[in-house]
């Protein structure tokens, strides 16, 4: 489907904020008094990222004047639930970060509650994508694992990178083994997701889409001069193989390899390299989300795929057989026969 900036920003920033606040909630009991200010700053960064994601989501609504109806279908719509849970997450995280912080009374409880709400918000967002049967690439529990894993790993890597160049270097060394374990788990999940995307590309069948009992079949005409990519964003041209390879290589490098190197650098007291790993994870989350949308296959692609233009095999410019050319050469022109 067509990747759109508001959705990429919403999901990436929401995941980053959740990863940050979950890391803060985990680090708080081990933090020294001099590190509490840094953890407060991390909470505030998380709240700003989450709020920015919420603002970005408004740009995805093309008629925000109707947004007041968005909670009408809480019983059936994951988007209604996403609006509610993400709104609660942003509100509570912002309140905790800018009032209590990591130093005030009840700071640990505030961080844990915020992290819990973040878990629910990111989980609901992931379920929104995973529960659409027509989106063949996403209709799988792997989608939930991938979105939650990306959020947690990118947020923790960013926290660890910032800690390594700040007063929280000891906290960074505490988190590094867990970040490495998280990256290993996310690598496995992304591998499963690549397989799921491949299965989705192979899904459409001529039989189910046309009632034709036997193939092979091919699309001749989508009904209009070209597929409706402008009015139907759920379909998008298939990514060329080179773009797909480059995209997933970028994701592997920025979301998995460099953050893993950063975690090792944090243990080895290389603050700058650890910070680079954290920033790389945030960039990698954007690249991962772009590929998540751009490489996704919708069931309607079967009727809208780009058809390669090929010359007719019946009326092609093939040369006449030799005997035909000899016969035509032997026959005198009509004017001579008269």
């Amino acid at each position: 489907m067509r990747p759109t900036a508001p959705l990429i920003l919403l999901t990436v920033l929401q995941g980053l904020a959740w990863g940050l606040i979950a890391t803060v909630a985990w680090w708080l009991p081990s933090a020294t008094a001099s590190q509490l200010g840094f953890l407060t700053d991390l909470e505030r960064l998380g709240s700003l990222l989450a709020a920015a994601g919420g603002v970005a989501s408004f740009f995805h609504m093309h008629r925000p004047q109707a947004a007041r109806y968005i909670l009408r279908r809480l019983g059936t719509s994951w988007l209604s639930r996403e609006a509610l849970t993400t709104g609660l997450f942003v509100a509570v995280l912002t309140a905790v970060a800018w009032t209590v912080g990591a130093q005030g009374p009840g700071s640990e409880a505030g961080a844990i509650v915020s992290a819990g709400l973040g878990t629910v918000a990111v989980g609901v967002t992931a379920l929104l994508y995973a529960t659409i049967p027509a989106m063949r690439s996403w209709h799988s529990p792997v989608t939930v694992l991938a979105l939650m894993g990306t959020g947690l790993v990118s947020g923790e890597a960013l926290a660890l990178g910032l800690a390594a160049v700040g007063p929280g270097a000891s906290l960074g060394r505490l988190g590094a083994p867990w970040l490495l374990a998280g990256i290993l788990g996310l690598t496995l999940v992304k591998g499963l997701q690549l397989h799921q995307f491949q299965l989705a590309r192979d899904f459409p069948t001529g039989e189910g889409a046309s009632g034709l009992p036997r193939g092979p079949w091919r699309l001749q005409d989508t009904g209009t001069s070209r597929p409706p990519y402008r009015t139907q964003p759920q379909v998008w041209p298939l990514l060329p193989h080179g773009v797909r390879v480059a995209g997933y290589t970028t994701v592997g490098l920025t979301l998995l390899a460099l953050p893993a190197a950063g975690a090792l650098a944090a243990v080895a007291h290389h603050g700058a390299l650890a910070a680079l790993g954290g920033i790389s994870a945030a960039v990698g989350a954007v690249a991962e989300r772009w590929m998540f949308f751009a490489d996704a296959t919708h069931s309607s692609r079967i009727w809208f795929q780009d058809v390669p233009r090929a010359p007719s095999r019946v009326a092609g410019p093939t040369a006449s057989p030799e005997w035909v050319r000899e016969f035509l050469a032997a026959v005198p022109p009509a004017s001579d026969r008269d």
């Binding site: 489907m1 995805h60 609504m61 093309h62 008629r63 925000p64 109707a66 947004a67 109806y69 968005i70 909670l71 009408r72 279908r73 059936t76 719509s77 994951w78 988007l79 209604s80 609006a83 929104l128 659409i132 049967p133 027509a134 989106m135 001529g206 189910g208 889409a209 046309s210 009632g211 034709l212 009992p213 036997r214 193939g215 092979p216 079949w217 091919r218 699309l219 001749q220 005409d221 989508t222 009904g223 209009t224 001069s225 070209r226 409706p228 402008r230 009015t231 139907q232 964003p233 759920q234 379909v235 919708h298 069931s299 309607s300 692609r301 009727w303 809208f304 095999r313 019946v314």
Partner: protein
Amino acid sequence: MQLTILTDLNKCVGCKSCQVSCKTHNTAGAFGPVPDHDPYRDPDGMWWNRVVALEAGEYPHTAVLYLPKACMHCYDAPCVPVCPTGASYKRADNGVVLVDYETCIGCQLCLWACPYGVREFDEHEGVVKKCTLCVDRLEDPTLPPEDRQPACVQSCPTHARIFGDLDDPESEVSRLVAERQGFTLLPELGARPAVHYLPRRPAPSPLGGQDWTMQEEADPT
């Protein structure tokens, strides 16, 4: 009651008159204009009904199938429960799936949820639009009874499209679906579409077999 359209794929010749008449009626009619905001520079405007052409088989044992495809007005329409505002809804009295433009926020989640790619996003008005089964014609008391049917059904020159109530076992559409193995598209996705198609019948082939479906038996070598 579940109003529906049945298309006989043996009769459809791919003339696209249903596609054009849909566009004409819904652009000029009182309900749901189908816009072409830039028709000369970008001719791919909005279409609620598209006739897809498919070629099946291996040359020379091939057949071309024309498949008119609009909203399926599914019994379990997946576009309805995902809508956060309730703008997408299914009418209880006749089963037609409609969009309330006033409450649509343009999030396009229903486009993802629809397995058939028959909803269209109007980026200028910021809402999603789709086939209404010409509900404005069906309920227009000023029209004579024989004209109270969708524009695509009325304009079909081969009478390939039949309009009726699928829940009425005595209706023509129900009888034809039962007698001639009427089928729906992508049944494995569980939407239970109301729109049905009558399958192609085998036809004699000058190359020896019955048709492309019998290509193993019809190998000319």
